[in-house]
């Protein structure tokens, strides 16, 4: 296999045939500068100290690795959750946002811009901007503003300008496009904090480098806590930052890597975000060559997912290469299954996962994998932001009984480390849909 995916060799511009810099000429100097600055900073002790210090004291790293007992029982294997949901601001996005804002500071750029879908990257960037005293503008599709209102309010509270994007389907793709347009004009004093491991080089490599702490920690933790490596690592894939963050540490291990994409209404419907699993052709989106949802003429199509963070028609180039080279596999989980997993994990573990992460959780809970004894799952974020959207969707699927105590999920067979079925029946949660209205 090519060594192109190894982070040790610098900020790669290509992963196999994927990646590159398909951008307007005016952005090339900024990409050159970013690449040069990062190749120094990534090994700069002072920078590393500052970054590590903030990750520890401000973000709360290392995030715990948690053996989810009731999920394990249901899945019939050990399920370990890497708790990125416990980070400050509630998702893995803060690792990258903080790192890139520190880079912006070092480059002397007083203004940052970013796109956001679920709002998690927007909130993380707004937070880092407040902390580091940077001016911040976040582009967000109007549809996502509707879906993720609490995060919009958070960003505004943090002093950030949220710029609604009206074009196209008014979701993540358009927000990225609009951020690029801003950057084409503002590049002199502005850094674009790309929120996922996609886009023009060197973003996929930088975002991976900043997110690999997820896997670096998790690998150490699971060796310590389980006494062994996992058989499999599972993460959801939007653009691919949390997945590449947790995969990177395991690339050279005999560990299966599984990325879970948004199946939306099902791959056959065409209404999904499963770019890798569906096998769409490669093309250019947001400065990078890679698999992308497009029509016969080359117009980029809109993705669909119930989760705003997976609602993206492209994917990071390194994931495309990991797929082609056979090192990782990518599977879809559709909207309904993800939303049910959202409820299921809340009830099994008392953890409300992000809808994005819920895709990975469904796969682990309900897709048989007899060869796997130990699963490591990236719980990329928490689901507070998703409550309104997920509850509405659950009602659509299950009617008024959506939040009834008995949600129709199989009852966990009690085992030695099992649960108390009676306590369960006594109602650990709202007793009817009326209660939450």
């Amino acid at each position: 296999m090519s060594t192109a995916h190894r982070p040790e060799i610098g900020s790669e511009r290509r992963f196999g045939p994927y990646g590159g810099r398909y951008v307007p000429e005016s952005l090339l100097p900024a990409l050159d500068e970013l690449e040069a600055v990062w190749s120094e900073l990534r090994d700069d002790p002072a920078f590393k100290n500052e970054f590590r210090g903030l990750l520890r004291d401000y973000v709360g790293r290392p995030s715990p690795l948690y053996l989810a007992r009731r999920m394990s029982e249901r899945a019939g294997r050990e399920v370990w959750l890497k708790r990125e949901d416990l980070n400050h601001t509630g998702a893995h996005k803060i690792n990258n946002a903080l790192g890139q804002c520190l880079i912006a500071k070092r480059m002397g750029k007083p203004r940052i811009i970013a796109e956001t879908g679920a709002g998690q990257h927007g909130v993380a960037t707004a937070t880092a901007a407040a902390l580091l005293d940077l001016e911040c503008v976040i582009y967000m599709g109007v549809e996502d503003i509707r879906r993720q209102m609490p995060n919009v309010q958070r960003m505004r509270l943090l002093g950030t300008t949220v710029q609604p994007v009206e074009s196209g389907a008014r979701t993540l793709k358009e927000a990225v496009s609009q951020a690029f347009r801003d950057w084409v004009g503002s590049v002199g004093d502005t850094h674009y904090v790309m929120g996922t491991a996609a886009g023009a080089a060197p973003f996929p490599a930088i975002v991976r480098d900043l997110q690999r702490i997820i896997g670096d920690e998790a690998r150490e933790q699971i060796l310590e806590q389980a006494g062994r490596l996992p058989d499999r690592v599972v993460a959801c894939v939007g653009g691919g930052s949390n997945a590449i963050g947790i995969f990177t540490a395991f690339l050279d291990d005999p560990v299966a890597l599984v990325g879970v994409e948004a199946g939306g209404h099902g791959i056959l419907s065409g209404s999904h975000g499963a770019v890798l699993a569906s096998g769409v052709d490669a093309g250019v989106l947001h400065g990078s060559y890679g698999p992308v949802m497009q029509d016969a003429q080359g117009q980029i199509l809109e993705a669909h997912s119930v989760s705003a963070g997976l609602d993206y028609p492209g994917v990071g180039p390194q994931h495309a290469w990991l797929r082609d080279s056979g090192r990782a596999t990518y599977v879809p989980v559709d909207d309904d299954d993800a939303v049910r997993a959202f409820r299921e994990v809340a009830r099994l573990e008392g953890i409300i996962p992000a809808l994005e992460s819920s895709h990975a959780l469904h796969h682990v809970l309900h897709v048989p994998a007899p060869e796997v004894e130990v699963d490591l799952v990236c719980l990329s974020g928490r689901g507070d932001k998703d409550l309104a959207e997920a509850l509405a969707k659950l009602e659509e699927i299950d009617g008024a009984a959506a939040l009834a105590a008995d949600d129709g999920e199989p009852t966990v067979v009690p085992t030695a480390i099992g649960s108390d079925p009676e306590a369960d029946e006594d109602g650990d949660g709202p007793q009817g849909a009326e209660e939450v209205r």
Binding site: E25, Y289, Q297, G298
Partner: protein
């Protein structure tokens, strides 16, 4: 590169480059007038009338835009027009049809984003441009030296001039590199930013033209590459300033696309063309 008897260098991109060179050589007034049209906007039939108005208004070359879903280098006016055209069902095929008719009267340079070019494969796309009688291709998200080599080679083989861009943020050395790769002309972007009308030309535009005209000039093919200035030119006064600063051609996009969206598009674009022509001393 050898130099022909007229002092122009031998084209590398065949018929397309020759036709573009003639447009820069033979125009009236202070500089070539190069209007941009969003193909198929507001609808294919009116778009044809607008193209005709460009020709009647003295266009020396027409830049033909393809409506695209994610135009990263375009400001609100061109973006919205492209979106409207897409929503109205305009396809790449429609734009080729328009361009083929237009190419009977003026050289046509297609402006489109990389994915439209790569989707059918660059060889097929270049051959299609040749068959439609186009002269050049501009791809704003395909900078020279990055991933453009195959595209330039296929264009050369098909007799299509690949026209690259330089921006105010482009260093002198980089301008020289891009200039030496330019076929037909070098597209100098007057502002750091997306397409769109500006009240006045940016304070960088003279420097952009100077660099585009001189960086690396003097060695072979690059010596006579004409420079077209675009982004932000909205009226005759701007056009006159660009020409006075040494631009060989002025490219006008958003102002004309805005006119194309008015109640009487042909009258509106004709008025803008008349103003531009008078600015160029015609």
């Amino acid at each position: 590169m050898s130099t022909g008897p007229t002092g122009t260098s031998t084209p590398r991109a065949g018929a397309g480059e020759e036709r573009i060179a003639a447009a820069f050589r033979d125009h009236e007034g202070a500089a070539a007038l190069m209007p941009y049209i969003m193909g198929g906007y507001p609808d294919p039939s009116v778009s044809r009338d607008i193209a005709k108005a460009y020709v009647d208004g003295g266009a020396d070359l027409v830049e033909l835009g393809v409506p695209y879903s994610d135009p990263l280098a375009d400001g609100p006016v061109v973006h919205a027009a492209g979106t409207d055209a897409l929503n109205a069902g305009v396809t790449v095929d429609d734009v080729f049809e328009l361009g083929e008719q237009l190419a009977a009267d003026v050289p046509v340079v297609l402006m489109t984003y990389a994915n439209i070019v790569l989707r059918p494969g660059i060889e097929a796309f270049a051959a299609r441009m040749r068959d439609a009688g186009f002269s050049g291709l501009i791809v704003p998200d395909l900078p020279i030296g990055e991933d453009s080599a195959d595209v330039v080679a296929a264009c050369d083989a098909a007799g299509i001039a690949f026209v690259p861009l330089v921006a105010p943020s482009t260093t002198e050395a980089r301008v020289a590199e891009v200039r030496s790769a330019a076929r037909g002309f070098l597209y100098a972007v007057s502002v750091t930013g997306t397409t769109g009308e500006r009240a006045s030309l940016s304070d960088q535009f003279e420097e952009v033209i100077r660099r585009a005209k001189t960086a690396g000039a003097g060695d072979g093919a690059a010596a006579d590459v004409p420079v077209g200035l675009g982004f932000g030119i909205a009226n005759g006064e701007h056009a006159a300033q660009a020409a006075a600063a040494g631009a060989d051609g002025v490219i006008v996009g958003s102002r004309l696309v805005r006119a194309a969206g008015e109640d009487d598009p042909v009258a509106a674009v004709s008025a803008v063309m008349a103003d531009l022509a008078s600015g160029l001393g015609r």
